[in-house]
């Protein structure tokens, strides 16, 4: 019944081409390009929270929760985030420092049409584990930037680091000001597609230790933002980002989030 209701909604949304019936077809076609023939199981080492229906397809919140069961000594070393139906399906690949048994990571992404969103976790035994959620959103990759281009250039690469320990959660957030142009947005002045321009590499360190690093694509939203498990321990936090034009942005913050 749920499927029928979902299918009816898919019909109702004129902008949402891939019918649910296609289901896994796109995944089957892109999977070998991403992971080769390596088996992927559905062991629950990572959770994925995504809105069933996104309010803003250009800013879809995605939460990943690494949680290995008690007594399981493995660690998760990498997470790949995928939106099947996006023109560039691989949203980002994250590597997790020394590997993690428990780690939360949230970001905001663009969803171009109704699609499965998947997270594939790699454990330190080399195995891959997948979780997925269906998101109803359309037009996220072509939606115009929210920020004025001049303003975006003036603030390019500026970073913010916030610590949420005051709220009782061991979390921090990094934001980098960057238009992260997808290449699929129309420039309202030139009436042509705005060239793709986005944060390609990002590394967040606590002292010398990498908390996480990312290889990102055009499906990460404007002003890339990452919220992650973090405990202040006196060491400074440094953030380094590089975009597709070769611009490098670096900033260091006090570990408690003060400046």
């Amino acid at each position: 019944m749920k499927t029928i209701a979902a299918a009816l909604f898919a019909f109702a949304a004129l902008l949402a081409p891939p019918a649910l019936a296609e289901g896994e077809a796109t995944w089957a076609s892109i999977r070998p390009d991403i992971f080769g023939e390596k088996p992927i199981d559905e062991e629950a080492v990572v959770g994925l929270t995504a809105p069933a229906r996104a309010e803003d397809a250009a800013l879809v919140p995605i939460d990943l929760h690494v949680a290995l069961p008690e007594g399981d000594a493995r660690r998760v070393v990498a997470l790949t985030l995928i939106v099947d139906e996006n023109p560039s399906p691989v949203v980002a690949s994250f590597s997790l420092g020394q590997g993690r048994r428990a780690f939360d990571l949230s970001t905001r992404i663009r969803v171009n049409s109704y699609s499965f969103v998947r997270a594939v976790a790699e454990t330190d035994d080399g195995k891959l584990h997948m979780v997925r959620a269906f998101v109803k959103a359309a037009g996220g990759c072509s939606a115009p930037a929210v920020k004025d281009p001049q303003d975006a250039k003036a603030n390019l690469g500026k970073m913010r680091f916030r610590v949420f320990s005051g709220t009782g959660r061991d979390e921090a957030q990094v934001q980098i000001r960057h238009p992260n142009n997808s290449g699929l947005q129309m420039d309202q002045v030139t009436r042509l597609y705005t060239p793709a321009w986005f944060v390609q590499h990002l590394t967040v360190r606590q002292g010398d230790e990498v908390i996480f690093a990312m290889e990102g694509g055009i499906s990460i939203s404007e002003d890339p933002t990452f919220r992650f498990t973090y405990r202040a321990d006196g060491r400074p936090v440094s953030v380094e980002a590089k975009d597709t034009e070769g611009n490098v942005f670096r900033q260091q913050f006090a570990g408690n989030g003060d400046g």
Binding site: A7, L8, F11, A12, I34, T190, R191, P195, Q200, I218
Partner: protein, 179 residues
């Protein structure tokens, strides 16, 4: 909710009445929100149903032009970036000229449209042209209006587009944008 009701009717295979909510023709090109109900008319052009479009297609004298927009793979993507671009199904033998139905065109897009039409019609402005994209898509309306403004004297606008064609089981093919 209304859309849902219409869709339910479609799903159930029921006939539904002609769109009651067709807006009047604007004086100028539609500039945004392209996926929305379109007018019932296009000044200077002839609106055709699927059956009429099929007849023109079988007669073989009319140039069919699909104007569905299409973003190419951004040239700036790092080498090796996976790009997933499923084939676009269109009416068999139609030419696909993406982007030419937007509200305002870059000079190069305008030149592309003019040159495309000229080549497809052999420079004969009296040659019949049929413009389409999808249902409820103002881009085909805009492009039809533009072709009329270019001086084409026999422009057909087919608002049901690829979806109406496909629903009727008429011949379709994978398309590549005209270079």
């Amino acid at each position: 909710m209304r859309r849902l009701a219409l869709s339910l009717a479609l799903c159930a295979g029921l006939a539904f009445p002609a769109r009651a909510e067709a807006p009047p023709e604007p004086a100028d090109y539609r500039q945004d929100d392209y996926r929305a109900p379109t007018p019932a008319t296009l000044a200077g052009a002839t609106v055709v149903t699927t059956a009429e479009a099929a007849q023109l297609w079988h007669e073989g004298k009319t140039v069919f032009v699909d104007v569905l927009p299409h973003a190419p793979r951004p040239a700036e993507l790092p080498a090796g970036t996976l790009w997933h671009d499923p084939p676009h199904r269109t009416i068999e033998k139609a030419a696909w000229l993406p982007e030419v139905g937007r509200g305002a065109l870059a000079p190069e897009t305008e030149a592309y449209f003019r040159a495309g039409l000229e080549a497809l019609t052999g420079g004969d402005k009296a040659r019949p042209l049929l413009v389409f994209c999808k249902r409820d898509c103002w881009m085909s309306w805009n492009a039809g209006k533009r072709a009329v403004a270019y001086g084409y004297s026999h422009v057909y606008w087919y608002p049901e587009g690829v979806e109406g064609w496909a629903d009727a089981g008429l011949p379709m093919t994978d398309a590549e944008p005209r270079p």
